[in-house]
Point group: C2
């Protein structure tokens, strides 16, 4: 059983704050180790990469060349993936590509009433690095979601790194990289792979931005190289918040709660409903469905430790709570989801109505499944084409418009004690 809250309870505020504050991740202090790894790869390059890969991944290589995934290995991987999986990956890729193409912003250029021209010009990042975890959390869908926005943005080079413990790679992950349009793949991982992408080595050209999920070492490494390269969000465990009313099917709601819970014992699934009988029915359906789930242990741990059912008087009362939870995934499984949508302030992605299980968004909806976790939807967005482009601003004065604006600039330069700033304007105006 998970916890049960009601806004009618006297201690609701305290218990809701506890739920929000629950520390779901143990933050390992790996910073010192990571620092040493980064320094070693920066100084020794390829040699350090080969050493670390031998040590951490039990993979022997005489050079970084040996760690490159070859065309032959790619062909072999593609043959190993069942045809229906390949087709599903291609359908997903097509839909992700189509949706992300709509995210490309337009350049802008205009002249204001003084004759000053202002503009914004968007260009793609030249090279991006994509971190893909090894082992169990190595998901082909995640490769599509990270790589395709970069391709759509116009990034010319996408270098993927993926650890292959004992030499084993997931063929589905390679297939997804192929379908997405990844340019280079290296069998390296951990902080050493992040260092190679950020600093470059003899064999690996540096990139300008690194994206993709990873363990505590990868997260610490990304935090440290931030500034040298761009990074995406540091992803935390996955979350779903479902707002349901009396029209919801309890079995469907339970299935969606468990789809999130099965990810990770630290995942969080929360239901908010204005219908007590639904709350009871969902709680029972969760227990029933859990018993037949292959990942029952994981899902049960998540549901028991971090799951919650919250009863509210009205659906309107649910919305401020939802905005405080700022969930990665928010399902509005109610009769009139559009009305509630207008009150959503903080959420990574919203799934409307009874027929949009969150799992559609994970795979084939077309929107991105890399979304802000751990309340960070309060200040950040899911991965998009915007993460792989940057804006250069443009300014152009004529002699006349400089004459109109110049005196104010001179005043501010002098006021800030920056005389050379003021002079660079004055000298053009013979002031």
């Amino acid at each position: 059983m998970s916890r049960r809250l009601s806004t009618q309870d006297a201690d609701f505020d305290i218990r809701f704050a506890e739920l929000l504050g629950a520390k779901r991740e143990v933050s390992e202090d790996v910073d010192q180790v990571v620092r040493e790894i980064l320094d070693n790869v920066r100084i020794h390059g390829d040699g350090a990469l080969v050493e670390y890969t031998k040590k951490f991944d039990r993979l022997e290589a005489s050079s970084v060349d040996d760690l490159v995934v070859t065309d032959r290995e790619m062909d072999a991987a593609l043959e190993k993936v069942p045809l229906d999986t390949l087709n599903a990956l291609k359908l997903a890729a097509d839909r992700i590509r189509a949706h992300h193409q709509k995210q490309l912003p337009k350049n802008d250029r205009y002249k204001d009433h003084l004759g000053v021209e202002l503009g914004s010009r968007w260009t793609a990042i030249e090279a991006a690095g994509l971190y893909v975890p090894g082992g169990l959390a190595s998901y082909p869908s995640s490769v599509l979601m990270n790589a395709i926005p970069a391709v759509v943005a116009g990034v010319e080079r996408i270098a993927m790194v993926v650890p292959s413990p004992g030499g084993i790679l997931n063929p589905q992950v390679l297939a997804a990289a192929h379908i997405a349009g990844v340019s280079e793949i290296y069998r390296i991982g951990g902080a050493q792979a992040v260092a190679a992408l950020a600093y470059g080595t003899q064999s690996i050209e540096p990139v300008s931005k690194i994206v993709g999920p990873g363990n505590a070492y990868v997260a610490a490494a990304k935090r440290r190289v931030f500034g040298t390269v761009g990074i995406d969000m540091i992803a935390g465990p996955s979350e779903v918040l479902i707002i349901a009313d009396g029209h919801s099917n309890p079995d469907w709601v339970a299935a969606d709660l468990l789809a999130q819970a099965e990810h990770d014992p630290s995942a969080q699934s929360i239901l908010i409903t204005n219908d007590e009988p639904l709350a009871d029915a969902v709680a029972q359906a969760v227990e029933r469905q859990l018993t037949t789930l292959p990942r029952q242990d994981v899902a049960r741990a998540s549901w028991q430790d971090f799951g919650a059912i919250i009863c509210v008087k009205t659906l309107e009362e649910a919305m401020p709570l939802a905005n405080r939870i700022a969930a990665e995934h928010l399902e509005l499984a109610v009769a009139d989801p559009e009305k509630l949508l207008e009150k959503v302030r903080n959420a990574g992605a919203v799934f409307l109505g009874h027929h949009t299980p969150e799992a559609i968004g994970d795979y084939v909806g077309g929107s991105n499944h890399v979304l802000p976790t751990a309340r960070s939807a309060k200040f950040s967005s899911g991965l998009s084409v915007l993460d792989f482009i940057k804006r250069t601003s443009i300014l152009k004065c004529t002699p006349d418009s400089l004459r109109a604006l110049g005196p104010a600039a001179i005043t501010l330069g002098e006021a800030e004690g920056l005389t050379a700033h003021a002079r660079s304007v004055a000298i053009r105006l013979n002031l």
Copy 2:
């Protein structure tokens, strides 16, 4: 004298790489101290803030209430600022506001051929924190540039922190905060102020994102709280790259190089030209202008240590170099700047033609002067309204469109071993 390079030199590649790689900032290792300060403020709140402010800013206060800038203090500050400065700040604010209003993206919603609805919905961050340095680097223009995009984005609450060593605050900075629309101002600074904004204290509500420049302690603190809140770029010393041809006025070019150099001994001013006589004339003009500059020592140190004049055969040859430099500010002071603009891949802001000194962009152009430094224009953009809004993605299936897409989602869920994902779709399709 600064260094002089030519693409005709045999050792050009090495010397250009040296110029790019020059370490202009000593990175102080303040991480341990900062960690302790963050922990103390998180645990002890107001009490720790008062203690640190006494210790680091020599400012006694009995409570955080005493550190709030009152309406009366604001009125007194406004009276101290000369009228022409106030008017120049208002002109700047109006222009920044007008330009940034054009950056607001539109929400999007559409139905694809399967009947799946997809969309993006933009909402403002609820509360932003603005760090303003104390002392010399406390610039009113910087307050406008950081606060106005947040106001335009729709951020309801902007909390500004500014250290007041010995109790002294720059009245211009307060005036700029007033003009920009800052909601709250606290006389606190350093890592402790960043902690207060990120975690909140008894008296200060937490914010969702922290922006603004600061010293090594502030930068380290922002890096550490990243994730709990959003942060902007970690700003490095300022830079200008000027590309000039034989039509350029050497005095104007020299003035623009020095406007950048006067910021900081670590600032960097680079000229690239295809005209050797111009190179000579600029070098002489810089020496001449330096002698009459109040901040001569700063500007001379910057120009000697990090300045450079690079001669190229043709302007086309300049562009790949410019893209490797990825300057914060790029002036195209040539006869046909539009032609070169098309080849700009990496730059924070571009200033076109002979009549657009970079200082116009610092103050009254309307575009933002918070721009990516230290090559980070390769992967990031200047501050904009986009930094204060976030996108929620929207997905809505009908029973029919779920029937069309569902099987592929089920296939991928099964392929990834995420059975509950697959089931959440299958259960709705009676599969």
